[in-house]
Symmetry: C2
Subunit: 202 residues, 2 copies
DNA sequence: GGCCTGGCATGACATCGGTCATGGGTGTCG
DNA sequence: CGACACCCATGACCGATGTCATGCCAGGCC
């Protein structure tokens, strides 16, 4: 009984390469590929994969939101998140969204097929080093609004730009940014944005 | 006559997957893999590949510098740069460093083997869309020192931090940043850093 | 109902940041 | 040599930014 796998990754070359890698295993077969988060649910509904390999960084819908959507539409379809960045927040949010496993792209290639099999069996697969990081880093200390403001601040615009973008007063934006800087332990908004990004809080 | 290929990419999973993809072709064989730019020359000297697939973003030595080193040590060994980001500056600097081809990771997987073959035949392989971008963007307008300062500014530190890091006076740092902001058409240093990064000037 | 948290706002203050003028030192090129 | 480009620095100006105090309102919780 072969396991049907679908790939969701925005880089076509990586997608094709992963397909080649998995097709080497007799018990695995790749039944579909998508390069956009919005296409995941449709393609999975049509192709009926047992496991979806999901990248986090994707155009359209990000992999975590796509995971949540997919779990709602097809609860029997398991998700293994395979991503470039081992951000603690990604792991946490991914699992909360219903992912069964979480693997970073610098794990050895030979372990991927095993991870797919484990996930298919209903087991959880999580990089141990990342799991401890996630425990240490904890959840995001930022409120929803603070996250919005910081996300908007990433672009490098001025306070006025951010205020216009979010329909807030400049003073409010400054207050939120001040709170964010305090919570992250940073000394400028840019530093705060970097810290938050490294932790997967954005 | 099979073409011997070596892979240089920091993500083990991608490396393994690309290997699987290329091994599907009868005329290609993967003779080595490295995950660090500093290992490229040593590994190539030992394995004698015909073509090296080189990622730009790597720990140790970046792919462009590694390309230059490799061309110096083994002039017969051709380099095909395969990277995530199609930054115009990467293309330009890669070709100047002696790369024979430049492919981004969202090109279709089936085209990779052909690109390797072309490069092996001594032809140049360049993504056409990227080539025009590179022409439009032109070379980096930043002086060496301005580039240093902007690179240091990326971290989000204050002017004082940057000045300390580069052993400059604060006023000088501000002047350089002001020049950078002017040249990039940005309105803050953060914006300037983003623009420069998107163009591969850092 | 009280109590707390979070979003939003205002105003005031000190500091930081970006701009400009100016000058001295280097090296290169015609 | 003179012209030019780049690096480094100083000082002054003003707008932007980060901090703080204070207030109002909505929603959740005991």
């Amino acid at each position: 009984m072969t396991i049907k796998v679908m790939l969701a990754d925005d880089q076509a070359l990586v997608r094709g390469a992963l397909a080649a890698l998995l097709e080497l295993e007799q018990d695995l077969t790749v039944v579909g590929e998508v390069g956009d988060g919005t296409e995941v649910v449709d393609a999975a509904t049509e192709k009926r994969p047992d496991v979806v390999l999901m990248d986090v960084e994707m155009p359209g819908l990000d992999g975590i939101s796509a995971t949540a959507e997919l779990r709602k539409a097809l609860p029997d379809c398991r998700v293994l998140i395979v991503t470039t960045f081992g951000r603690p927040g990604y792991l946490r949010r991914g699992l909360q969204a219903g992912a069964a496993g979480f693997v970073v792209k610098d794990t050895p290639a030979r372990e991927l097929a095993d991870a797919v099999r484990r996930v298919h069996q209903g087991l959880r697969v999580v990089d141990p080093a990342l799991a401890t990081d996630s425990l240490i880093a904890g959840e995001s200390p930022l409120t929803a609004r603070e996250t919005d403001v910081l996300r908007a601040a990433r672009g490098g615009g001025t306070v006025a730009d951010i205020a216009r973008e979010l329909f807030l007063s400049e003073g409010t934006v400054r207050n939120h940014l001040s709170a964010v800087i305090g919570k992250t332990g940073a000394r400028t908004r840019a530093e705060a944005a970097q810290i938050a990004e490294a932790n997967g809080w954005l």
